[in-house]
Symmetry: C2
Subunit: 330 residues, 2 copies
DNA sequence: ATCAATCATGCAATCGGTTGCACGATCAAT
DNA sequence: ATTGATCGTGCAACCGATTGCATGATTGAT
C-alpha cells in the first residue's frame, strides 16, 4: 500500500510517534530531528492517511452542508451555490472538507447519519429541517442554520439576511418614487423567509395591501400578475419575492402594454446575474450571499472549536437601484 | 464516547466480529443471533463509526467533485449545480458521500490531497485541471472528467455533451428559418467547449463566418453585438455561446431597434430557467445536465468497483425552439 | 455409526495514525 | 558537585471497525 508513518519513521531513524509530533507540531522536537523527518517525508512523498488520523483524534475534518431539494432547481439556486462557494473557501482555509448532502428524500436520516457515523464535525442546515424531532437527536452537536428557523429556540445558532428590513426598504423606495398602490408578488407563503418579507411589506405599506402568492414558478407569477393588472384599479408597483416572479411580471406587463417604470414599478429580491440585463434592468434587494456563507461557516467553526455559546447573526440587505423603479415623472 | 461495536456485542452476548458480519451481511449468521444483534443495535441506537470502518476497509466512502472556480459565479453556474444535484443523487443511493472542493487556488494540491490522504475513493474533475503533471500523480486512481479534456488520452474517462453537434444543429435551424448571415457570439476561445462549439458552427455555416469572442460577460457580449450590428451589412442571426451572451445581444437589439426574430434570429446554448421568460423567449440548445451528472457518477462508480476499462460518453443535445428564431416571414 | 464437508462464531492481528506515561539527557540554580 | 526541572524521544495502548484463520457444532452421505 501507500507510504505510512512507520516508513517515514524508519527512514528518519526515529519512532513513529516522533513523526506524528513533527506532523502536528504539538511537542518540542530538536531542529535536527525535525529536519530529518521532513527530509524523509519529502523523499517518500508521504501523505498522512486522514482516515487513521480521524479515527485516532475523533475528528472527521469535514463539515456537512445539507440542502433540502426535491428538484434540481433548488440546488442550482443562486443563493445556495454562492453561499456554498464562500463556505468552501472558509473550510478549505482551515483544512476542512465540505460534504454536501441532500436531505430531502430521507426524513432526517441523512443528517443523523452524517452526525452519528462521525462523517462530519459540524453541520450547516437549512431552516426547513429544523424540527423538534431533529433537535432532539442532534443534541449538542455543533450546527448552524443558514436562514431563520421557523421554530425559534434561543440555543440555536443561525445566520440570515434581514428579509423584513429588505422588504421595508423596497416598499419605502417605491413610495418615494411616487407609486401609490404597491403589491407583493410571488413566494410560497409557508416558507419562513417569504413570510418575513411579506411582514416587512405590511409594516410600511400605506395603500391597499395586495399579496399575490404563487407556487414559486415564473408561470404562476405571470398568471397572478395578469389577473391583478386586468383589474379596474390595479397595483402600480410590485415587490417581487424573487427574480423568477419578476420575470413573470415583466412578461405580463409586456403583454398588457404597460410600461415600466412609468406605469408599473418593480423591485425584486435577489441579484441574479441577469437582473441587470433584462428590459428594463431590475431594481434589486441585494443579499450578500458571500458574506452569508462566510459568516455561517465561521460561526460553525467557532462552535466546533469552543463549543461556545449560541449566536444569531442577521445581515442587512442593500438596495441596488436600476431603471425598473425609477419613474421619470410623477 | 459513543456506542461502539463492542457495546453491541456485549449486549447481544456475541463477539464484535459477529456484529461486524451481521452489519455487512458477508457471512452466514444464525437467524437467532442476527435478531439478537439487531435488537441490541436498536436498543443502543448504534451507528457504526464510519471512520473506523474506512480505515479498516481502506475505502473512504466518499467521492470528490472538484470545481475550478476563481469567483462565486462559476460556482453558481447552472450547469455545475444541476450536474452536482444528479451526482449527489447517485452517490447517496450507493451510500457514498460527496465532497466538493475548489481546485482553483492551489495548483493541483487540492486534488492530490483528496487522493493521497485517502479522503475520497474517486474524483470527478473539470477539464481545466487535466494536465500532464496531474495525470502523473493521479496514476490509476479512479477519476472521470466532466467535460472533454483538452489533452486527449485514450485511457482518460470523460462524459460530455456533444457541443459540436449542438452548434451544427443551431446553425442548421437558423438556416432553415431563412437567416442568411449567421454569426457566433460569446465565449472565451481558450475554453475547450467553446472551441468545439465554434468548430460546429464552422462545419455548417454557409455564409460569411463571423466569430465574436468575449470574456464571458454580458457586458462584453453587448459591446461586441453593438459593434457588429452597426456595420453596413451585419449578421442577421447569432448563435450565442451561453445565455449571458444572449442577454447582451438582446440588449443591443433593443437599443438599435432591431426586432427579434424578424430582423435578427437568436439561438443560445444552455437552458437557464429565465430563457423562456425574456422577450422574446429564447430558442435554446438544451444540455441534459441531469443526465450528464448521472452518467458521470455512474461511470466513476464503475471504475471504483471494477477498476474497469476506460470509456468516453458523449451525450446529444436537443433544440428547444422558441420565438427568438421563428421568423414569421422570409 | 463414521467421516468429511459445511456452518456459525470467536480470537487476534491489522488498518495508520495519536497520545499518556516513562525515562535518560540536558540545563540552571545553589 | 548535587539536585530538581525541563526537554526530547520511545514504548505501547488505543481509536472502532474488518477479516483470515481456527475451532467446535451441525449436517449429509455412505
Amino acid at each position: 500500500m501507500a507510504v505510512t508513518i512507520h516508513d517515514v519513521a524508519k527512514l528518519a531513524g526515529v519512532n513513529s510517534s516522533t513523526v506524528s509530533r513533527v506532523l502536528n507540531g504539538k511537542a518540542t522536537i530538536t531542529p535536527d530531528t525535525k529536519e530529518r523527518v521532513y527530509a524523509a517525508m519529502r523523499e517518500l512523498d508521504y501523505h498522512p492517511n486522514s482516515l487513521a488520523r480521524s479515527l485516532a483524534s475523533g475528528l472527521s475534518g469535514a463539515i456537512g452542508v445539507v440542502v433540502d431539494a426535491r428538484d434540481a432547481e433548488a440546488f442550482s439556486n443562486v443563493f445556495f451555490s454562492r453561499s456554498l462557494f464562500a463556505i468552501e473557501k472558509v473550510a478549505q482555509a482551515r483544512g476542512y472538507q465540505v460534504i454536501i448532502a441532500n436531505g430531502a428524500q430521507s426524513r432526517g436520516g441523512t443528517i443523523e447519519g452524517l452526525m452519528k457515523e462521525h462523517k462530519v464535525d459540524g453541520l450547516i442546515l437549512p431552516p426547513t429541517t429544523v424540527k423538534p424531532a431533529l433537535m432532539k437527536t442532534i443534541g449538542d452537536f455543533p450546527y448552524v442554520v443558514l436562514g431563520t428557523p421557523d421554530t425559534l429556540r434561543s440555543d440555536t445558532c443561525w445566520v440570515d439576511n434581514n428579509n423584513e428590513q429588505g422588504a421595508e426598504m423596497a416598499v419605502r423606495h417605491l413610495q418615494k418614487m411616487g407609486y401609490q398602490q404597491i403589491a407583493y408578488l410571488g413566494g410560497y407563503q409557508k416558507r419562513g423567509f417569504t413570510k418575513r418579507r411579506v411582514r416587512g411589506y405590511q409594516n410600511v405599506s400605506s395603500g391597499k395591501e395586495t399579496i399575490l402568492s404563487t407556487d414559486g414558478t415564473s408561470e404562476n407569477a405571470y398568471a397572478e400578475a395578469v389577473r391583478e393588472l386586468k383589474k379596474e384599479s390595479h397595483a402600480d408597483a410590485f415587490v417581487c419575492n424573487d427574480n423568477l416572479a419578476a420575470f413573470g411580471l415583466l412578461k405580463a406587463c409586456r403583454e398588457l402594454r404597460l410600461r415600466i417604470p412609468d406605469d408599473i414599478g418593480i423591485v425584486a429580491f435577489d441579484n441574479y446575474p441577469l437582473a441587470e440585463y433584462v428590459d428594463p434592468p431590475l431594481t434589486i434587494v441585494d443579499i450578500d450571499t458571500a458574506m452569508l456563507g462566510e459568516q455561517t461557516a465561521q460561526l460553525l467553526f467557532r462552535r466546533i472549536e469552543n463549543g461556545g455559546g449560541s449566536q444569531q447573526i442577521m445581515l442587512s440587505t442593500s438596495l441596488v437601484i436600476r431603471a425598473s423603479s425609477e419613474r421619470r415623472k410623477k
